[in-house]
Structures are given as C-alpha cells and as structure tokens.
Amino acid sequence: MAKSKPRVKVPKSAAAGEVITIKTLISHDMESGQRKDKDGNPIPRKIINKFACTFNGEPVFECELDPAISANPYLEFSAKVPQSGTFKFTWVDDDGSVYEAENTIEVQ
C-alpha cells in the first residue's frame, strides 16, 4: 500500500464561536482481517484504529475505529471556533504509524 495521505477540509475563516464542519479523508486499505488471499490464508488485519482532532492542543473530537469502517475512512464532524488557531489531526495505524495533518483557521 502506498503511503497513506490524509486530506482535510477546514474553512479558512470563521466568526468567533461559530460551529464549522470539518471533513477528513485518508487513503488506507482498512484491511479487515476477514478476507482471505487466493491460497485461503486470512489476510492479517491492518486498519486505522484511532483518529483525533485537537484545536490549539485542546481535544475537539476523537474516535476509535473498527474493521467495519470502509476503506479510505471518511469522517465529517463539527468544531466550535473560539479564536484563531490550528487544528491538528492524527490517525493511528495498527502497525503504529501515525499520520498527521494541520490546518489553520482565522477568526475575523
């Protein structure tokens, strides 16, 4: 599998206290551990099991994912923006790799 590349959509600016929608997508096979290869051997599970979003270091949203989440996991959620700052996104893979993304937002 090629390197997992996260994509994040956050508005560039917002009014103070506004609730915005964040969309995230990361390319990943999310191998469920249920499938078998052509010799009948089970393909080991390899999924993204955790996702977290923080704003200026404060937790906004996090989740644990199970194999029942589709390949290229897509997550859409909301966040309240009290001031200008940086959203940080982290995805944790079963093999321990961590994929990260960052996005800044300005409050007008």
Binding site: Q34, E62, C63, A68, L75, S78
Partner: protein, 151 residues
Amino acid sequence: MNLNRRQALGLATGAAAFAATGFRALPAMAAAEDAEKKLMEFAGGKALETGRITLTAPEIAENGNTVPVSVSVESAMEGDDMVESVMLLAEGNPSPDVATFRFTALSGVAAVTTRMRLAKTQNVIAVARMKDGSVYMDKKQVKVTIGGCGG
C-alpha cells in the same frame, strides 16, 4: 517431518476448513447477541431511551463496502447537557463494533458522518451516552445487495 505432496495437501485443506468454520460459524451466530452485550455494557445498566439521537442510513445499500451513515444528537454541548460518546454497532457483521466517537465542548454539535461496511442486510444501531449518564438509542435497518466483509 517428511511429507509427500498428497499428505501436505490434505493437511492444508484440513487446516483451511477448520479455520473457515472456526472463523465464520461462531461470529455469525453470536453477532446479534454480541451487539446486545456491547449495548448493555455501553449503557452501564441505564435504560435505553429513544429520541434525541438520529441515525441516518440508506434504506437500501447497493454496495455494502461503503454505506454512508450519520449520527446526530440533540444537545447544547455546554455544561451538563453534553454528549460524552456515541457508539455505532452493526448486528449482522462478523464483529458488531463499528466505531466509538467522543465529543467535547469544542465539538459544538454532536454530529458525525462516516462510511461503513455491512456484511448483509441488518440493523445498524447508534447509542449516545450523555454526561448525566442517560443513554439514547436509534436503530435503522439497511438492506444490502452486495456484502462488504470477506470476499
């Protein structure tokens, strides 16, 4: 150990058959019960109430590999009126867990959209636990034409 080809083949198919039955039969039968158990654990002894939580899923999913689902919970997300976490379960999958979402005051609105796999036609369950301990549930049946697990 010295094996000729025939013996080796016999062993391999035997092992494969065992693995197949072991993997398939057990979870398939236990999935609905398992989901029930997970639900009870999540509720922590509280009665499951309806309302406040809305699960949006298609009535018919042509492809069980990517079924869009949304969950939203009515809440001010301030002070004591706060959604702590939301769990998503699928009764008919090999394992009922789908995901657990946790919200904070910075979430603003307790709503999430994702895409999930469904092995067959089944009920999808969303439960939300509030900060005061009350638990709300919503359930939707999704008809699946092509399964999304295994293959």
